[in-house]
Amino acid sequence: MPHAPVAKHEPSPWAIEFRGVGRTLPSEDGPKSILTGVSGRLARGRVLTLIGPSGAGKSTLLSLCNLLQTPDMGEVFIWGREVRTWLLAELRRRVGLVMQQPVMLPGTVADNLAVPSRLHGRPQPDGYRLLQQVGLDPSLLQRPAAELSGGQKQRVALARILSNEPDILLVDEGTSGLDRESAEIMERHVRRLVASRSLTVVWVTHDLEQARRMGDETWLMDKGRVVEQGITEAFFEAPQTEIAKRFLRAGLRADRRTLAPGEEDES
C-alpha cells in the first residue's frame, strides 16, 4: 500500500503528546471538570491501551487528539504541532478516530468506504480488500450500511477510517460488539499495520485481557485523571498505585466469571 514515510517530515518523534490537558463542561450544578491535568506522550509505532471505569474520560481524551473537542486547558501535540495549528482536514485524515458508537452514512457499505477518499480528493480505495482485512465478508459491499449488525458496523467504521490511511489510529471500544474470534482478527490487522507502516495506535477497551494483548504501553484513567502510566507488561504484573491494583483485581474477578453480566454496555 503506498504510504509516505512520515518520519522524515516530522521534527518530533512523539506521535501524540498531552501537556497539562483539561476539559470542563457546563452542567446544571456549575462547570464540571471531565479531564484534569492529563500529561503524557506516545512515540511513533507504539500501541497505547487506555483503560478505566466508565465515565473516566477516555472518549473525551481521544476526541482532543483530532480536535473534535477543544482542550480548555493545556495543549495537545500531534507530531510536535499543537492541534489548533494544524490544517483541520489534514489533521483529521491523519489522526483517524473510530468512535464508540459507529455511525453508518447513507448508502451501501461500498459508499461508506468511498467517503474518505471523496472528501480528500484521493483515488477510490479497494473496498474488497478493506473488508477482508477487518474480517468481513466482501459480499457485504453492496448491502445498505444501515442494515448491518452492531459488530459489522464497528468493523466497517474501522475499514472506513483505514481507507484514509491515517498514521495515528484512535479506536474507542472498537471490538465491544464482537465475538472473541472476530475481535482477534481486528487486533491482528491493527497489529500488522503497526508493524508494516509504524502506525501509532490508542486503543480504548474495557477488556483487560485485550488491553494486555494489544498494548505496548497502558494508561489507567479515573475521574478525568490519568492515574497510572506504564509499559503494559509491568502495569499488569506490578501496578504501582492503589487505584490500579483495585481496578485490576475487580477486572480479573469479572473476567473469571464465565459470562459477566453486561454491565459495561456503553450508554
Binding site: 483541520l88 482536514a89 484514509n164
Partner: protein, 248 residues
C-alpha cells in the same frame, strides 16, 4: 364599493367581538386593535400606491421595493433562531430573489416597467421569499440536530464544513420548497389565489387574471428555490466553529 358599504362589513367584527364577550375569550381588545391597524395600514398603503402610480417614478418604485425587502428581512431574521444572524443574511437572500426574479420578468418584457405591475408582484415575491427563509432556517436547525451523529462522523473523517453539512442543507432546501410546490399543485382546485380573486372582483377578464396568476405561481416557485439556495450558502458556515466542530 363606497366607504359606507365597506363600513357595513364591520358587522362581522362586531359579531366576532360579541362571541368573544359571550364566551369570555377576552379577545375583544385584540380584535379592536387588529381591526384598527388593518384599516389604517391598508388605507394608508392604498393612498401611497395611488400616489406612486400617479407619479410613475422608477426611483420611488425601487425605494418602495427596498423598504418591503428590509421589513421582510427583519421579520425573517427574528424567526431564524440565531442561525441567520440578525438581518443581513435574510436580506441578501430576499434581495437576490427579488432582483433575479423581477429582473427576469422585466428584461423579458413579461410585465411592463410600470409601478402598478412591479410593486404588487414584488410584494408577492418578497413575501414568499420571507416565508421560505423562515422555513429553511427552521428546517436546517432541526435537520442538523436530527442528523448530528452523521455530521460528526463526516467531520471526524476530515470533512470541511461545506462537505459535512451538504446533506442537511440539501434536506432543508427541499423541505422549504415543498409547501410552494404543493400549493401550486392544488392551485385553482382548493384555493382561488388572492390576487386572481381580487382582479376578478375588480372586473378583470378571468382568463387574463389566470394568466397573471400563473406568472405569480411560476415566479414564486423560482423564488423559493433561489431563497433557500442563497440562504444555505450564507448560513452553513454558522453551524460550525473555527475548529470545524458542530455547534447545534
Amino acid at each position: 364599493m363606497s366607504l359606507w358599504t365597506l363600513s357595513l362589513t364591520l358587522a362581522f367584527v362586531v359579531a366576532a367581538m360579541l362571541v368573544s364577550l359571550w364566551q369570555r375569550l377576552g379577545l375583544e381588545k385584540d380584535m379592536l386593535v387588529a381591526t384598527v391597524r388593518a384599516t389604517v395600514q391598508l388605507l394608508l398603503i392604498g393612498y401611497i400606491l395611488k400616489f406612486v402610480f400617479h407619479v410613475g417614478n422608477l426611483a420611488l418604485t425601487a425605494a418602495m421595493v427596498a423598504v418591503m425587502t428590509c421589513v421582510a428581512a427583519d421579520n425573517a431574521g427574528r424567526r431564524g433562531r440565531g442561525l441567520a444572524g440578525r438581518f443581513w443574511r435574510p436580506f441578501v437572500a430576499i434581495a437576490a430573489t427579488e432582483v433575479l426574479t423581477q429582473g427576469f420578468l422585466l428584461a423579458g418584457h413579461v410585465i411592463p416597467v410600470r409601478p402598478s405591475y412591479i410593486i404588487p408582484i414584488s410584494g408577492m415575491i418578497v413575501g414568499n421569499s420571507m416565508v421560505a427563509c423562515g422555513l429553511f432556517l427552521n428546517r436546517l436547525r432541526d435537520e442538523t440536530q436530527a442528523r448530528s451523529a452523521e455530521v460528526w462522523t463526516l467531520l471526524a473523517l476530515g470533512a470541511n464544513p461545506k462537505q459535512a453539512s451538504r446533506a442537511v442543507v440539501k434536506a432543508a432546501t427541499k423541505a422549504s420548497m415543498i409547501p410552494t410546490i404543493d400549493s401550486a399543485k392544488t392551485m385553482g382546485l382548493v384555493q382561488l389565489p388572492g390576487m386572481m380573486t381580487g382582479q376578478i372582483i375588480a372586473g378583470a377578464d378571468p382568463i387574463q387574471a389566470v394568466r397573471y396568476q400563473l406568472l405569480i405561481v411560476f415566479a414564486i416557485m423560482a423564488s423559493a428555490a433561489i431563497t433557500s439556495i442563497v440562504l444555505g450558502l450564507l448560513t452553513y458556515p454558522r453551524l460550525f466553529n473555527r475548529f470545524w466542530q458542530l455547534l447545534v
